[in-house]
Symmetry: C2
């Protein structure tokens, strides 16, 4: 690799390195002619300044960290596409960190990201994170940080979320309109705010329709298909159940699989509805009424907030308000 430096340019053009540096950053205090000559030459040799040197010297890095539970997931990969579409335009690059739903990994990856001197972090917290000190520290230190989708209870930093409550409410209503009476809910632990909100929207809708919810109809599963299986088996002992609301992408698919495998005949008669961002979920039979989250848009707004704060000189002008995407 040609590892050209401004020194090479300076030598070739018979000027000093500082002149080159200034010309390249389009400083006003420089002879337009020299400037032009330098810029032209730099372009001709495909010069790219060494970002290590730039960021060692200055402050910024033009890179942001994205911390997600996993990449291999239709929702998160679409969010990242949204983030990238904004970041790319502004010349930022993404470094990806995965936590695999582990709290320890999350703490470690944040350390790594900071260590790598990223300019900011966009994070969707892991499913097992219930202590937020590592994140609160960042906020206290005024480090540019934006939460998306899975957000903790922290103030003073933007949290970009989807209006889960309303989405859950609306699709529950549709199912009730179709005549469902006895609706079960299978979901992941209610630690995560967005998951909790879906449950709340569901409950609110039942209430508004004067249906009361038997707490036996709520099943909480961790990230293991086995648990979904047990939950379904347990629930279906109740013959009256005519609908199942699933609270997350994975659970939606897991439950569908269990029904198909163990209770094909009952699956025909049970409405399943829930959250999923799988882009071929509309092709499966029997159909599931699916709530698709606006993932790309979530990514766009997340990036906008983060980049605003990164590039904002004064901390007072930082965006700190929560944003809800519909």
């Amino acid at each position: 690799m040609q590892t050209l430096t401004i020194k090479d340019i300076a030598k070739a053009l018979g000027v000093s390195t500082s002149t080159v540096s200034r010309a390249l950053r389009d400083s006003h205090e420089i002879n337009p002619l020299t400037k032009l000559k330098i810029i032209e030459y730099a372009k001709s040799i495909h010069f790219i300044p060494n970002p290590m040197a730039v960021s060692l010297r200055g402050k910024i890095n033009k890179s942001i960290a994205i911390i997600v539970p996993t990449l291999h997931n239709s929702f998160f990969s679409e969010v990242i596409e949204g983030i990238d579409s904004v970041a790319h335009e502004k010349g930022y690059h993404l470094t990806i960190f995965q936590t695999h739903e582990s709290f320890e990994r999350e703490v470690e990856e944040i350390h790594q990201a900071i260590g790598r001197r990223v300019d900011g972090i966009a994070i969707s917290i892991s499913g097992s994170t219930n202590n937020f000190d590592h994140l609160a520290n960042l906020v206290d230190a005024k480090f540019p940080l934006v939460f998306f989708d899975r957000v903790p209870d922290l103030t003073d930093t933007p949290k970009i979320t989807i209006d889960n409550l309303t989405l859950a409410y609306e699709c529950t209503q549709k199912i009730i309109d179709k005549g469902a009476k006895k609706i079960a809910h299978i979901t992941t632990p209610l630690i995560l705010k967005n998951i909790k909100e879906r449950f709340d929207g569901f409950l609110k809708c039942l209430k508004d329709n004067s249906i009361d919810f038997d707490s036996n109809l709520l099943k909480v599963c961790h990230f293991d298909p086995k648990e979904a299986e047990e939950a379904v088996i347990e629930l279906l002992k109740n013959d009256e159940i005519d609908a199942i609301f699933t609270g997350s992408d994975r659970i939606t698919v897991d439950v569908f699989r269990v029904l198909k495998k163990l209770f094909p005949e009952r699956q025909e008669k049970i409405f399943q509805f829930g959250f999923s961002n799988h882009n071929i979920v509309d092709l499966i039979t029997p159909p599931i009424l699916v709530v698709k989250q606006p993932a790309f848009q979530l990514g766009v707004v997340t990036a906008q907030n983060l980049l605003h704060n990164i590039e904002c000189k004064s901390h007072n002008a930082w965006k700190k308000e929560d944003v809800r995407i519909r």
Copy 2:
């Protein structure tokens, strides 16, 4: 952010920065006691060396670029998981670049990656790349580069691929065994080697079964669902078609959609089979016989080859052979 440096450690412990530096890199020529003291202290203050400084000074960066057409794709995101699993273990981080199937973007992103001084690049080339100079230059410059899945015709650098020919052959055989006689093939342009191989495997199987292939039954579509629709409509004018082989993930789903929308009655009678890495494709009806590529494993092998070459002192010992995954 506390931006601690070795200087801080040196001052706190009353030693010189070089002693600290050496202790932290576990140099043998240092007093075990001082070493211990320094390491302990560094740990206690959560010290992470500034990677910018490290890589400015030395050579390596502990980061690799992943260049893919798009992230939001079950196959690529799973490959990246595989790459990350190996890279993470060795302390490398991934910076992701997307080309969105554009040749220009690919050239630009490679420049960016080099500019960022990544230690190596793993790339799956864009669907519209038919000039390989930008890649050949990297190989000539002995820059660590590994191709995966979508590989160009270049020598002297590893190409990690899936044995598409065999996979295509095997599933074609299964369909023939079920009685199919008139099998159409819908695929993306045959520029990409892996796509071409699938076609070849398909043809070979037909030949081995003494079925001859009418070239009218081959339809090539670009990355637009419209084209898939036209292809299907055109093909189904032929009543004898009893099976359709789809050559890529996207095409598989697009074709299924068109059939479902426009020809539901014929869909029942036509075997569809093809490549897809969608993890819920087994749930759709009528079922598609699906070839799932070992994406994670592909990622693992890609990372192993790349990291080997990055960390290898002598260029002679570089891995350069192609690897085929089954």
